[in-house]
Assembly symmetry: C3
Homo-oligomer: 356 residues x 3
């Protein structure tokens, strides 16, 4: 584990920012505006954080030029166009990194497996027949890399991950703890009142620069493969069923589930706890807000939503009573009938010169 | 691991189908119509796949008699009544099977545990006091079989599964990676503003031919047991709380949760991400579509649904505004009032011979 | 493992109840009214269980004074004000406890870690640099306690739990199997069409008397910490994102997800499968019913709900059709227009002396 401090000059250079203040100011950490100490750097993510910035004890602030002009309380700045991005870059500078290399003595590795000399294999890891582990890949304790699985370079596989079903994992992939990749899909043929298991002969293919959170389940395909393209990011507790295809750079938030054989396009954002039914096609650049329920294909890019929102419970119960009546109420006719009736009344009234 | 090729004659016999074409045609794998090579067999699951079938390179097609007549492009067929079922049967022929037997040297097994000579126990498996593991059962690496757990014959327990709480597992049960069976139920007595834990004294009983996916949580009962009857199939990331009872051959898709003490009947289908509240009774042959929310018992067989469906987000926001007004709008009265008003207008009009 | 029997006198004393009947009656277990044998004790949780109580074979019943008067069928009672609480207390008496102490030979513990002499560390546990494990804490097999993690006294950490990210765990905390604490939050900066990972520099702080179920994911903070205060109880498969703050004694049921930087107050109850969006504030004493969807802060204590409830599917489909029309129907105007039209008709009618 490595942890050191940096000068303002070093940090400004790392994020290609303009330095204002004392170049030799020492910075030992990165923190929020509120919690920053006088040895730390922080960032101001827009005008709405101006007040917090004014009160912050941070030694250095990452800001836009506009913000810098308003922060007369502070002396040291890194001026950039996008402070959030500069902050994202600096998190890697201050991250405590593990730099182990080699194979712990307790790891069980099949003689046919090919493990790079620059990989790290933790305690009690089990790696099966014909597996491949690439350069600088880090496999934490207790991971299970089953027969025929291949993992690329610079990957991070956390503890208790299970990778099976001959899955192929690209480069620079991060898979967090207790996630399962390549387990068999939920495929059963109903026959004479019972469920007959369909052995799942497909696999999982995961591209480069993919990130998968903890406690996810990504099943292998029935015949063809389940595929996550390059740049896909997935949060925790996500279900990706057999034969799903997720396009490049799509982001999937926690607790979302995607049922079998559905295709999700590129650059989509699925917020938390969405449910997407099986055998659908969702085009590129679709955003689903949280808890969206998708039962039909989406052919047009855009933002989509589901659900009733939140009600005080008494109000909710009365709303549900009405909702149950709604099917039998010809909503669109009502307004037309009202208009029609109004016309007839006006005609009656004018005939008799009533109400003016 | 075993992988071999078969003749058309052998495969036709295995699925009790009629062979059309060259009996000695070699088949080395099973694939989708689209991806099949000229060494593989595929299946045509109804008329809607006819076009794909015509274009398929598959060496052999599994078809109905009707479909076969239309596929003049191909020479080799297996004709059956139910091609999907025949496909399901053949998946087992082409599945790569592990056939290990014995106990890996790194497994920790309590001397009082009884492990069949024909079972396989993987690396770093831990098996506690008085456990039983039946014939031909396969326990993958890192599984934890806690004290008093009994597992029947021909079971498959994948890596990182935790079975505890004296659970009893039947024969031919498959439990996928990282699932937890028998953990303590969420039982607390509120008293003086705090939660007092209720130790969970019940267990879990799982019947024969049950399938449980990855990352599931099935809790043990508070006093009595949590029960899954024979033939139940469960997908990934499913929550089954303490004292739930699931009837025979019921299927539960991914991300569904069933709260404590609820009873689900036989032959039910719960699609993905359903939520069933506690202490309910759901009768036999009930189907819940995806994301259904069940807060009352269901006494009639049938299909049930919840949710608003998906809206373009602007449309959704305007809909929610109206939904908030709905409780105070007497929907069923509106139509009656309209009818009544119309009658009165017609009466006025006829009195004065207006509008004919 | 310990299991013994108790006298009625002993049990009455343990729950501070009044003994009625034979003090030396032997009780070997605690059971539900329905399943209790004549060697077991059971409890009557209110009048609605009176019939079951009358039919119960239990040797002893825990009852209120009122109930006791009605149960002339039985001879032995413990009379208390709150039978459910007395039952909760007795579950601990009859729980089979593990009482191991010491470190299994297969555990891998970094020399810098400080493990109490009264702790138990199971098989294949891995404990990293500078970790601390307190007195009487029990860590089950295969757990991973990563570098810098500190765990207090009298904790129970079940198998396959992963604790990482320098998390700090208080005293008397229970974490169930396969849960992940301190994994990195889902933080990415979008830039030029790609997702740039933000290394997560915060940690997780868990107070005293906290309970976390199985298969949960609790992520570490981006800069500051994710915090669960004292007395929080969490069920299975729950997602708690980075920088969430959960107040004292709040209960979170299974399958709920809380997105990043949201603050939940004290004494809240979130029922199963709720979804709370990010950057919200929920005040104290809020109850959310199951599957609630929270997209705005809640400033008033109370009970809140979401969702449509369950419909027979045909009825549901017709309802959804209407719901899609709702946005364009001016609901609140309709009733006003009806009232207005009615007034005008009455005026017309009275002018002409129609209908009296």
């Amino acid at each position: 584990m490595i942890q050191r401090s940096y000068t303002l000059k070093e940090l400004a250079s790392l994020v290609h920012g303009e330095l204002i203040g004392q170049p030799e100011t020492k910075v030992s950490g990165l923190s929020s505006l509120e919690q920053a100490t006088s040895q730390q750097i922080s960032f101001v993510n827009g005008d709405k954080y101006l007040e917090q910035a004014l009160a912050s004890k941070a030694a250095v602030l990452i800001v836009t030029r506009d913000l810098q002009a308003q922060l007369t309380t502070h002396q040291n700045f890194i001026v950039v166009e996008n402070p959030y991005l500069a902050f994202a870059m600096l998190t890697h500078v201050f991250e405590i990194k593990k730099i182990d290399v080699g194979i712990e003595s307790t790891a069980q590795i099949h003689p046919s497996a090919m493990i790079s000399d620059t990989a790290y294999i933790g305690h009690y890891v089990v790696i099966g027949e014909n597996c491949v582990v690439g350069d600088h890949t880090f496999i934490e304790s207790h991971a299970k890399i089953d027969d025929g699985v291949e993992i690329g370079q610079k990957c991070f596989i956390d503890s208790h991950v299970t990778i099976t079903g001959f899955s192929k994992i690209g480069n620079n992939v991060r898979i967090h703890a207790n996630t399962v990749i390549g387990s068999e899909g939920f495929g059963f043929a109903p026959y004479q009142g019972k469920w007959h298991r369909i052995a799942q002969l497909g696999s999982v293919k995961i591209g480069n620069n993919v990130r998968i959170g903890s406690n996810c389940s990504i099943d292998r395909g029935a015949l063809d493969d389940t595929i996550l393209e390059d740049g896909v990011i997935v949060d925790n507790l996500v279900q990706i069923a057999h034969n799903v295809h997720v396009g490049e750079n799509t982001a999937i938030a926690a607790k979302t589930g995607i049922a079998g054989s559905t295709t999700i396009g590129k650059n989509c954002i699925l917020a938390g706890a969405c449910g997407v039914a099986g055998h659908l096609k969702i085009t590129d650049n679709v955003t689903l807000t949280g808890m969206s329920m998708v039962t039909k294909s989406i052919f047009e890019s855009g933002t989509y939503s589901s659900g009733t929102g939140l009600f005080e419970s008494g109000h909710w119960r009365r709303t549900i009573v009405r909702l149950r009546q709604l099917a039998d109420v010809p909503l669109t006719q009502i307004v037309k009938r009202l208009d029609h009736i109004q016309t007839r009344i006006e005609s009656l009234e004018s005939t008799f010169n009533m109400r003016k």
